[in-house]
Protein backbone atom coordinates (compact mmCIF):
# COMPACT_ATOMS: atom_id res chain seq x y z
CA UNK A 1 0.00 0.00 0.00
CA UNK A 2 2.75 2.44 1.02
CA UNK A 3 4.72 1.63 -2.14
CA UNK A 4 1.62 2.14 -4.27
CA UNK A 5 1.02 5.57 -2.74
CA UNK A 6 4.65 6.57 -3.24
CA UNK A 7 4.31 5.44 -6.86
CA UNK A 8 1.30 7.72 -7.28
CA UNK A 9 3.11 10.71 -5.80
CA UNK A 10 6.15 10.04 -7.98
CA UNK A 11 4.05 9.61 -11.10
CA UNK A 12 2.09 12.81 -10.41
CA UNK A 13 5.25 14.84 -9.89
CA UNK A 14 6.97 13.35 -12.93
CA UNK A 15 3.98 13.90 -15.21
CA UNK A 16 3.60 17.49 -14.05
CA UNK A 17 7.30 18.17 -14.62
CA UNK A 18 7.28 16.52 -18.04
CA UNK A 19 4.18 18.44 -19.05
CA UNK A 20 5.99 21.70 -18.29
CA UNK A 21 9.14 20.43 -19.99
CA UNK A 22 7.20 20.29 -23.29
CA UNK A 23 7.11 24.11 -23.22
CA UNK A 24 10.47 24.65 -21.54
CA UNK A 25 12.69 21.51 -21.84
CA UNK A 26 15.75 23.05 -20.18
CA UNK A 27 13.87 24.83 -17.41
CA UNK A 28 12.05 21.65 -16.39
CA UNK A 29 14.74 19.03 -16.80
CA UNK A 30 15.24 16.76 -13.79
CA UNK A 31 18.44 18.58 -12.91
CA UNK A 32 17.00 22.09 -13.30
CA UNK A 33 13.95 21.38 -11.15
CA UNK A 34 16.02 19.58 -8.49
CA UNK A 35 18.34 22.60 -8.39
CA UNK A 36 15.47 25.00 -7.81
CA UNK A 37 14.05 22.74 -5.10
CA UNK A 38 17.41 22.55 -3.34
CA UNK A 39 17.78 18.75 -3.67
CA UNK A 40 20.02 16.52 -5.76
CA UNK A 41 18.83 15.20 -9.11
CA UNK A 42 19.24 11.69 -7.66
CA UNK A 43 16.82 12.43 -4.79
CA UNK A 44 14.22 13.89 -7.15
CA UNK A 45 14.63 10.92 -9.47
CA UNK A 46 14.09 8.49 -6.56
CA UNK A 47 10.94 10.38 -5.49
CA UNK A 48 9.62 10.38 -9.05
CA UNK A 49 10.15 6.61 -9.25
CA UNK A 50 8.38 6.04 -5.94
CA UNK A 51 11.54 4.84 -4.22
CA UNK A 52 11.77 7.65 -1.69
CA UNK A 53 9.13 9.01 0.69
CA UNK A 54 9.24 12.80 0.35
CA UNK A 55 9.16 15.16 3.33
CA UNK A 56 6.33 17.65 3.81
CA UNK A 57 8.62 20.62 3.18
CA UNK A 58 9.93 19.10 -0.05
CA UNK A 59 6.44 18.17 -1.27
CA UNK A 60 5.15 21.68 -0.65
CA UNK A 61 8.05 23.23 -2.56
CA UNK A 62 7.65 20.74 -5.43
CA UNK A 63 3.90 21.36 -5.65
CA UNK A 64 4.43 25.13 -5.78
CA UNK A 65 7.06 24.67 -8.50
CA UNK A 66 4.84 22.37 -10.57
CA UNK A 67 1.44 23.95 -9.91
CA UNK A 68 0.03 20.99 -7.93
CA UNK A 69 -2.14 20.94 -4.82
CA UNK A 70 0.01 19.81 -1.85
CA UNK A 71 -3.04 18.99 0.27
CA UNK A 72 -3.92 16.05 -1.99
CA UNK A 73 -0.36 14.71 -2.19
CA UNK A 74 0.62 15.03 1.47
CA UNK A 75 -1.66 12.22 2.72
CA UNK A 76 -0.33 9.95 -0.04
CA UNK A 77 3.12 10.45 1.41
CA UNK A 78 1.73 9.46 4.79
CA UNK A 79 2.33 13.05 5.94
CA UNK A 80 -0.11 15.11 7.85
CA UNK A 81 0.29 18.83 7.24
CA UNK A 82 1.87 20.38 10.32
CA UNK A 83 -1.05 22.77 10.90
CA UNK A 84 -3.56 19.91 10.62
CA UNK A 85 -1.59 17.77 13.08
CA UNK A 86 -1.41 20.70 15.50
CA UNK A 87 -5.18 21.27 15.21
CA UNK A 88 -5.90 17.62 16.03
CA UNK A 89 -3.70 17.86 19.11
CA UNK A 90 -5.39 21.07 20.27
CA UNK A 91 -8.96 19.95 19.54
CA UNK A 92 -9.31 16.16 19.77
CA UNK A 93 -13.01 16.41 18.85
CA UNK A 94 -11.85 17.13 15.31
CA UNK A 95 -10.77 13.51 15.01
CA UNK A 96 -14.33 12.42 15.65
CA UNK A 97 -15.57 15.04 13.20
CA UNK A 98 -13.32 13.61 10.47
CA UNK A 99 -14.66 10.10 11.18
CA UNK A 100 -18.24 11.36 10.85
CA UNK A 101 -17.52 13.30 7.68
CA UNK A 102 -15.80 10.26 6.16
CA UNK A 103 -19.12 8.46 5.84
CA UNK A 104 -20.92 11.41 4.30
CA UNK A 105 -21.97 11.17 0.65
CA UNK A 106 -19.88 13.39 -1.64
CA UNK A 107 -22.55 16.06 -2.43
CA UNK A 108 -23.46 16.33 1.24
CA UNK A 109 -19.81 16.71 2.18
CA UNK A 110 -19.31 19.46 -0.42
CA UNK A 111 -22.35 21.25 0.93
CA UNK A 112 -21.10 20.96 4.50
CA UNK A 113 -17.68 22.29 3.53
CA UNK A 114 -19.24 25.19 1.63
CA UNK A 115 -21.32 26.09 4.66
CA UNK A 116 -18.32 26.47 6.90
CA UNK A 117 -15.66 27.59 4.45
CA UNK A 118 -14.57 31.15 5.04
CA UNK A 119 -12.21 31.61 2.08
CA UNK A 120 -8.92 33.50 2.00
CA UNK A 121 -9.71 37.16 1.63
Amino acid sequence: MVVERQDRIGRTLREARQERAKQDPRGFSLRAVAGRLGVSATYLSLVERGQERPTEAFLRRACTELGLDPETLLPLAGRLAADVAQSLIERPELVEAVRMLRAMPEPELRRAVRRIRDGEW
Partner: protein
Amino acid sequence: MDLLPDNRLEFAFPEIHPDAVLQIEFQRTLRVPDDGQHHHLPPGLGRFPLRGVDELDPERVPTHWLRRGGMVMPMWQAEACWLRFSSPAGYPFLLKVGAGKINAVTGAAWRNEPDFGNQDYVEVPSQPWLDGFKTDDGTVRQFVAMPLGCGYTVEEQITGEAWWGGVQLLAHPLKGQVWQRRMAEEQRRQAERERRMAEIQRQMAEWLRREEADFFSFCRLHLSETITRECRRPSGRGALAMGLAPGGSIRQEIERARERRSNWELSARARCFVHLANSEVWRGITGEAPPTVPPSAADYTRAGLPWFDWYAEQPMADPPSRPSVLRRVRSVCQLSRAKGETVLPENESFPPPRPVRLRRPNRAARLDGRR
Protein backbone atom coordinates in the same frame (compact mmCIF):
# COMPACT_ATOMS: atom_id res chain seq x y z
CA MET B 1 -23.23 29.83 3.53
CA ASP B 2 -25.32 27.85 1.13
CA LEU B 3 -26.65 28.37 -2.37
CA LEU B 4 -30.35 27.70 -2.82
CA PRO B 5 -31.58 26.24 -6.13
CA ASP B 6 -33.25 29.56 -6.98
CA ASN B 7 -29.92 31.45 -6.88
CA ARG B 8 -30.32 32.94 -3.43
CA LEU B 9 -27.47 32.83 -0.95
CA GLU B 10 -28.41 31.61 2.47
CA PHE B 11 -26.51 32.25 5.70
CA ALA B 12 -27.98 30.03 8.38
CA PHE B 13 -26.97 29.88 12.05
CA PRO B 14 -28.95 26.93 13.44
CA GLU B 15 -26.71 26.85 16.51
CA ILE B 16 -27.83 30.40 17.39
CA HIS B 17 -31.54 29.99 16.60
CA PRO B 18 -33.56 28.03 14.03
CA ASP B 19 -34.93 31.36 12.74
CA ALA B 20 -31.46 32.82 12.19
CA VAL B 21 -31.55 32.59 8.40
CA LEU B 22 -30.45 35.42 6.12
CA GLN B 23 -31.04 35.30 2.38
CA ILE B 24 -29.27 37.50 -0.13
CA GLU B 25 -29.86 37.78 -3.85
CA PHE B 26 -28.37 39.81 -6.66
CA GLN B 27 -31.02 41.38 -8.88
CA ARG B 28 -30.50 42.26 -12.51
CA THR B 29 -31.58 45.79 -13.25
CA LEU B 30 -31.40 48.82 -15.54
CA ARG B 31 -28.38 51.08 -15.46
CA VAL B 32 -29.70 54.52 -14.49
CA PRO B 33 -28.35 57.41 -16.58
CA ASP B 34 -25.32 59.14 -15.12
CA ASP B 35 -26.63 62.63 -15.90
CA GLY B 36 -26.40 64.54 -12.64
CA GLN B 37 -29.99 63.67 -11.70
CA HIS B 38 -30.99 61.55 -8.72
CA HIS B 39 -33.06 58.68 -10.07
CA HIS B 40 -35.77 56.57 -8.51
CA LEU B 41 -35.11 52.94 -7.62
CA PRO B 42 -34.91 50.81 -10.78
CA PRO B 43 -36.86 47.54 -10.99
CA GLY B 44 -35.56 44.03 -10.35
CA LEU B 45 -35.43 41.99 -13.55
CA GLY B 46 -34.79 38.63 -11.92
CA ARG B 47 -31.90 37.08 -10.03
CA PHE B 48 -28.41 36.73 -11.42
CA PRO B 49 -27.34 33.09 -11.62
CA LEU B 50 -24.71 32.04 -9.07
CA ARG B 51 -22.38 29.05 -8.96
CA GLY B 52 -20.26 27.85 -6.05
CA VAL B 53 -16.55 28.17 -6.84
CA ASP B 54 -16.02 24.74 -5.29
CA GLU B 55 -18.56 23.19 -7.66
CA LEU B 56 -16.73 24.32 -10.80
CA ASP B 57 -14.00 22.48 -12.67
CA PRO B 58 -10.82 23.66 -10.86
CA GLU B 59 -8.94 23.53 -14.16
CA ARG B 60 -11.11 26.31 -15.52
CA VAL B 61 -11.19 28.55 -12.47
CA PRO B 62 -8.32 30.92 -11.52
CA THR B 63 -6.36 29.64 -8.54
CA HIS B 64 -6.96 32.80 -6.51
CA TRP B 65 -10.73 32.35 -6.95
CA LEU B 66 -10.40 28.81 -5.57
CA ARG B 67 -8.51 30.14 -2.54
CA ARG B 68 -11.10 32.84 -1.89
CA GLY B 69 -13.98 30.38 -2.31
CA GLY B 70 -17.53 31.69 -2.46
CA MET B 71 -19.63 32.21 -5.56
CA VAL B 72 -19.23 33.27 -9.17
CA MET B 73 -21.78 35.50 -10.90
CA PRO B 74 -21.86 36.64 -14.55
CA MET B 75 -22.18 40.33 -15.44
CA TRP B 76 -21.88 42.20 -18.70
CA GLN B 77 -19.54 45.17 -18.73
CA ALA B 78 -21.48 48.27 -17.60
CA GLU B 79 -24.35 46.12 -16.32
CA ALA B 80 -25.94 47.21 -13.04
CA CYS B 81 -27.16 45.15 -10.10
CA TRP B 82 -28.74 45.59 -6.70
CA LEU B 83 -28.79 43.39 -3.64
CA ARG B 84 -31.90 42.22 -1.84
CA PHE B 85 -31.76 41.07 1.77
CA SER B 86 -34.40 39.12 3.61
CA SER B 87 -34.94 36.76 6.48
CA PRO B 88 -37.90 34.36 6.29
CA ALA B 89 -38.68 34.84 9.98
CA GLY B 90 -37.60 38.49 10.13
CA TYR B 91 -34.53 37.56 12.17
CA PRO B 92 -32.22 40.58 12.48
CA PHE B 93 -28.75 40.51 10.96
CA LEU B 94 -25.84 42.89 10.84
CA LEU B 95 -24.58 42.81 7.26
CA LYS B 96 -21.41 44.30 5.84
CA VAL B 97 -21.19 44.75 2.08
CA GLY B 98 -17.97 45.42 0.22
CA ALA B 99 -16.89 45.77 -3.39
CA GLY B 100 -13.24 45.19 -4.15
CA LYS B 101 -12.85 45.08 -0.37
CA ILE B 102 -14.05 48.67 -0.08
CA ASN B 103 -16.98 49.08 2.30
CA ALA B 104 -20.03 50.10 0.23
CA VAL B 105 -21.51 52.17 3.07
CA THR B 106 -18.45 54.12 4.21
CA GLY B 107 -15.78 53.71 1.52
CA ALA B 108 -13.32 52.45 4.14
CA ALA B 109 -10.94 49.57 3.51
CA TRP B 110 -12.59 46.25 4.36
CA ARG B 111 -12.48 45.09 7.96
CA ASN B 112 -14.25 42.04 9.24
CA GLU B 113 -15.15 43.77 12.50
CA PRO B 114 -18.20 46.04 12.44
CA ASP B 115 -17.55 49.72 13.13
CA PHE B 116 -20.33 50.60 15.56
CA GLY B 117 -19.18 54.21 15.96
CA ASN B 118 -19.26 55.02 12.26
CA GLN B 119 -21.95 52.63 11.04
CA ASP B 120 -20.33 50.63 8.24
CA TYR B 121 -23.07 48.03 7.86
CA VAL B 122 -26.77 47.68 7.25
CA GLU B 123 -29.30 45.98 9.46
CA VAL B 124 -31.57 43.39 7.90
CA PRO B 125 -34.57 43.20 7.60
CA SER B 126 -35.00 46.97 8.10
CA GLN B 127 -32.74 47.61 5.09
CA PRO B 128 -34.36 45.46 2.39
CA TRP B 129 -31.97 46.29 -0.46
CA LEU B 130 -28.86 48.15 -1.50
CA ASP B 131 -28.43 49.60 -4.99
CA GLY B 132 -25.03 51.21 -4.81
CA PHE B 133 -22.25 52.93 -2.91
CA LYS B 134 -23.55 55.39 -0.32
CA THR B 135 -22.17 58.70 -1.58
CA ASP B 136 -24.31 61.19 0.27
CA ASP B 137 -27.14 61.25 2.76
CA GLY B 138 -30.06 59.80 0.85
CA THR B 139 -28.25 58.90 -2.37
CA VAL B 140 -26.15 56.05 -3.66
CA ARG B 141 -24.07 55.62 -6.82
CA GLN B 142 -25.37 52.59 -8.61
CA PHE B 143 -23.32 49.36 -8.63
CA VAL B 144 -22.04 49.01 -12.21
CA ALA B 145 -19.72 46.19 -13.30
CA MET B 146 -16.45 47.20 -14.96
CA PRO B 147 -13.38 45.08 -15.79
CA LEU B 148 -10.61 45.19 -13.22
CA GLY B 149 -7.62 47.01 -14.63
CA CYS B 150 -9.45 49.79 -16.49
CA GLY B 151 -9.38 52.14 -13.48
CA TYR B 152 -13.14 52.57 -13.07
CA THR B 153 -13.93 50.41 -10.05
CA VAL B 154 -14.20 51.98 -6.62
CA GLU B 155 -11.38 49.72 -5.47
CA GLU B 156 -9.03 51.11 -8.13
CA GLN B 157 -10.08 54.71 -7.55
CA ILE B 158 -9.51 54.48 -3.80
CA THR B 159 -6.55 52.11 -3.49
CA GLY B 160 -4.94 52.39 -6.92
CA GLU B 161 -4.92 48.57 -7.09
CA ALA B 162 -7.00 46.15 -9.15
CA TRP B 163 -6.58 43.17 -6.90
CA TRP B 164 -9.82 41.95 -5.34
CA GLY B 165 -12.83 42.94 -7.44
CA GLY B 166 -16.08 41.11 -6.73
CA VAL B 167 -18.49 41.64 -3.86
CA GLN B 168 -17.86 40.74 -0.23
CA LEU B 169 -20.55 39.91 2.30
CA LEU B 170 -20.26 39.32 6.04
CA ALA B 171 -23.16 38.67 8.39
CA HIS B 172 -23.58 38.45 12.17
CA PRO B 173 -26.90 37.26 13.60
CA LEU B 174 -28.74 38.74 16.56
CA LYS B 175 -28.14 36.87 19.82
CA GLY B 176 -30.50 33.92 20.14
CA GLN B 177 -31.71 34.93 23.59
CA VAL B 178 -32.49 38.48 22.45
CA TRP B 179 -34.58 37.06 19.64
CA GLN B 180 -36.29 34.60 21.93
CA ARG B 181 -37.29 37.40 24.29
CA ARG B 182 -38.56 39.53 21.46
CA MET B 183 -40.50 36.59 20.04
CA ALA B 184 -42.24 36.05 23.34
CA GLU B 185 -43.12 39.73 23.56
CA GLU B 186 -44.29 40.20 20.04
CA GLN B 187 -45.43 36.88 18.68
CA ARG B 188 -48.88 38.16 17.97
CA ARG B 189 -47.53 41.00 15.89
CA GLN B 190 -45.35 38.80 13.74
CA ALA B 191 -48.09 37.49 11.53
CA GLU B 192 -49.09 41.02 10.59
CA ARG B 193 -45.50 42.02 9.92
CA GLU B 194 -44.92 39.10 7.58
CA ARG B 195 -48.11 39.91 5.77
CA ARG B 196 -46.89 43.47 5.23
CA MET B 197 -43.45 42.36 4.02
CA ALA B 198 -45.08 39.94 1.63
CA GLU B 199 -47.25 42.78 0.42
CA ILE B 200 -44.19 44.87 -0.53
CA GLN B 201 -42.75 41.96 -2.48
CA ARG B 202 -46.13 41.24 -4.05
CA GLN B 203 -46.41 44.86 -5.21
CA MET B 204 -43.06 44.62 -7.00
CA ALA B 205 -43.78 41.18 -8.42
CA GLU B 206 -47.16 42.31 -9.68
CA TRP B 207 -45.73 45.27 -11.55
CA LEU B 208 -43.10 43.11 -13.12
CA ARG B 209 -45.48 40.32 -14.07
CA ARG B 210 -47.91 42.73 -15.67
CA GLU B 211 -45.29 44.40 -17.79
CA GLU B 212 -42.94 41.52 -18.42
CA ALA B 213 -44.08 40.68 -21.95
CA ASP B 214 -43.58 44.26 -23.24
CA PHE B 215 -40.45 44.61 -21.33
CA PHE B 216 -38.50 41.65 -22.64
CA SER B 217 -39.27 42.50 -26.27
CA PHE B 218 -36.41 45.00 -26.21
CA CYS B 219 -34.04 43.11 -24.03
CA ARG B 220 -31.76 41.83 -26.77
CA LEU B 221 -29.57 44.80 -27.51
CA HIS B 222 -26.27 42.93 -27.90
CA LEU B 223 -24.30 45.77 -26.43
CA SER B 224 -21.47 43.92 -24.81
CA GLU B 225 -19.24 43.32 -27.83
CA THR B 226 -19.08 47.02 -28.67
CA ILE B 227 -18.21 47.94 -25.15
CA THR B 228 -15.56 45.29 -24.67
CA ARG B 229 -13.70 46.50 -27.72
CA GLU B 230 -13.66 50.09 -26.57
CA CYS B 231 -12.25 49.46 -23.14
CA ARG B 232 -8.54 48.77 -22.92
CA ARG B 233 -8.05 45.08 -22.42
CA PRO B 234 -6.73 44.68 -18.90
CA SER B 235 -3.79 42.43 -18.24
CA GLY B 236 -2.89 39.86 -15.61
CA ARG B 237 -5.34 38.43 -13.13
CA GLY B 238 -7.68 41.39 -13.62
CA ALA B 239 -8.48 40.31 -17.17
CA LEU B 240 -10.74 37.56 -15.89
CA ALA B 241 -12.59 39.46 -13.27
CA MET B 242 -14.86 42.41 -12.84
CA GLY B 243 -15.38 44.82 -9.98
CA LEU B 244 -18.09 47.31 -9.12
CA ALA B 245 -17.77 50.93 -10.17
CA PRO B 246 -19.98 53.91 -9.28
CA GLY B 247 -22.70 54.59 -11.84
CA GLY B 248 -25.54 57.10 -11.91
CA SER B 249 -27.07 58.50 -8.75
CA ILE B 250 -30.12 56.89 -7.11
CA ARG B 251 -32.21 58.15 -4.22
CA GLN B 252 -31.78 55.51 -1.56
CA GLU B 253 -31.44 55.88 2.14
CA ILE B 254 -29.53 53.64 4.48
CA GLU B 255 -31.44 52.92 7.67
CA ARG B 256 -29.70 54.08 10.81
CA ALA B 257 -28.61 51.14 12.95
CA ARG B 258 -30.91 50.68 15.93
CA GLU B 259 -29.74 47.46 17.55
CA ARG B 260 -27.45 47.81 20.51
CA ARG B 261 -23.96 46.44 19.99
CA SER B 262 -24.50 43.95 22.80
CA ASN B 263 -27.48 42.45 20.93
CA TRP B 264 -25.28 41.08 18.15
CA GLU B 265 -23.76 37.60 18.31
CA LEU B 266 -20.29 38.67 17.25
CA SER B 267 -18.84 35.22 17.92
CA ALA B 268 -20.84 33.83 15.00
CA ARG B 269 -20.34 35.08 11.49
CA ALA B 270 -20.52 33.96 7.88
CA ARG B 271 -18.74 35.46 4.91
CA CYS B 272 -18.95 35.09 1.17
CA PHE B 273 -16.81 36.40 -1.70
CA VAL B 274 -18.87 36.78 -4.87
CA HIS B 275 -16.59 36.85 -7.91
CA LEU B 276 -17.89 38.76 -10.91
CA ALA B 277 -17.11 36.99 -14.17
CA ASN B 278 -17.52 38.72 -17.50
CA SER B 279 -19.82 36.93 -19.88
CA GLU B 280 -17.06 35.14 -21.82
CA VAL B 281 -15.43 33.85 -18.64
CA TRP B 282 -18.81 32.69 -17.33
CA ARG B 283 -19.42 30.76 -20.51
CA GLY B 284 -15.94 29.25 -20.27
CA ILE B 285 -16.20 28.06 -16.68
CA THR B 286 -19.85 26.98 -16.56
CA GLY B 287 -20.59 26.14 -20.21
CA GLU B 288 -23.77 28.20 -19.87
CA ALA B 289 -24.90 31.41 -21.54
CA PRO B 290 -25.13 34.46 -19.28
CA PRO B 291 -28.48 36.28 -19.02
CA THR B 292 -29.35 38.72 -21.80
CA VAL B 293 -28.33 42.38 -21.57
CA PRO B 294 -31.04 44.48 -19.88
CA PRO B 295 -32.73 47.25 -21.92
CA SER B 296 -31.71 50.87 -21.55
CA ALA B 297 -33.33 52.88 -18.78
CA ALA B 298 -34.66 55.36 -21.36
CA ASP B 299 -36.36 52.65 -23.44
CA TYR B 300 -37.79 51.13 -20.27
CA THR B 301 -39.20 54.49 -19.18
CA ARG B 302 -40.61 55.30 -22.63
CA ALA B 303 -42.49 52.01 -22.44
CA GLY B 304 -44.24 53.38 -19.34
CA LEU B 305 -42.78 50.78 -16.99
CA PRO B 306 -42.47 51.50 -13.28
CA TRP B 307 -39.72 52.95 -11.13
CA PHE B 308 -39.88 52.75 -7.35
CA ASP B 309 -39.37 54.87 -4.26
CA TRP B 310 -38.65 53.73 -0.74
CA TYR B 311 -37.67 55.83 2.23
CA ALA B 312 -35.91 54.81 5.40
CA GLU B 313 -37.78 55.57 8.58
CA GLN B 314 -34.68 56.97 10.25
CA PRO B 315 -31.96 57.39 7.65
CA MET B 316 -28.34 57.19 8.58
CA ALA B 317 -26.49 60.50 8.21
CA ASP B 318 -22.77 61.01 7.79
CA PRO B 319 -21.26 63.22 10.48
CA PRO B 320 -20.46 66.55 8.74
CA SER B 321 -16.92 66.37 10.09
CA ARG B 322 -16.26 63.03 8.36
CA PRO B 323 -17.51 63.10 4.77
CA SER B 324 -17.31 59.69 3.15
CA VAL B 325 -14.43 59.01 0.78
CA LEU B 326 -17.12 57.66 -1.56
CA ARG B 327 -18.21 61.26 -2.26
CA ARG B 328 -14.91 61.83 -3.98
CA VAL B 329 -14.91 58.82 -6.32
CA ARG B 330 -15.80 59.57 -9.92
CA SER B 331 -18.59 57.85 -11.73
CA VAL B 332 -17.92 55.66 -14.76
CA CYS B 333 -19.30 58.39 -17.02
CA GLN B 334 -17.22 61.20 -15.48
CA LEU B 335 -14.07 59.11 -15.60
CA SER B 336 -14.58 57.87 -19.14
CA ARG B 337 -15.04 61.45 -20.33
CA ALA B 338 -11.81 62.45 -18.63
CA LYS B 339 -10.00 59.53 -20.24
CA GLY B 340 -11.54 60.12 -23.65
CA GLU B 341 -12.97 56.59 -23.68
CA THR B 342 -16.45 55.36 -24.50
CA VAL B 343 -17.35 52.60 -22.09
CA LEU B 344 -21.08 53.16 -21.63
CA PRO B 345 -23.17 52.15 -24.64
CA GLU B 346 -25.78 54.79 -23.92
CA ASN B 347 -26.54 57.27 -21.19
CA GLU B 348 -29.73 58.91 -22.39
CA SER B 349 -31.61 61.09 -19.92
CA PHE B 350 -35.40 61.17 -19.71
CA PRO B 351 -38.03 63.15 -17.84
CA PRO B 352 -38.37 61.68 -14.35
CA PRO B 353 -41.30 59.26 -14.23
CA ARG B 354 -43.74 59.11 -11.31
CA PRO B 355 -42.47 56.28 -9.11
CA VAL B 356 -44.41 53.59 -7.31
CA ARG B 357 -44.07 54.23 -3.59
CA LEU B 358 -43.19 51.07 -1.71
CA ARG B 359 -44.58 50.99 1.79
CA ARG B 360 -42.81 49.84 4.91
CA PRO B 361 -44.17 47.28 7.35
CA ASN B 362 -46.26 48.60 10.19
CA ARG B 363 -44.04 50.16 12.85
CA ALA B 364 -45.68 48.27 15.67
CA ALA B 365 -45.40 44.93 13.94
CA ARG B 366 -41.66 44.47 13.67
CA LEU B 367 -39.16 42.39 15.52
CA ASP B 368 -36.05 44.30 14.63
CA GLY B 369 -35.69 46.20 17.86
CA ARG B 370 -37.20 49.47 16.67
CA ARG B 371 -39.51 51.54 18.75
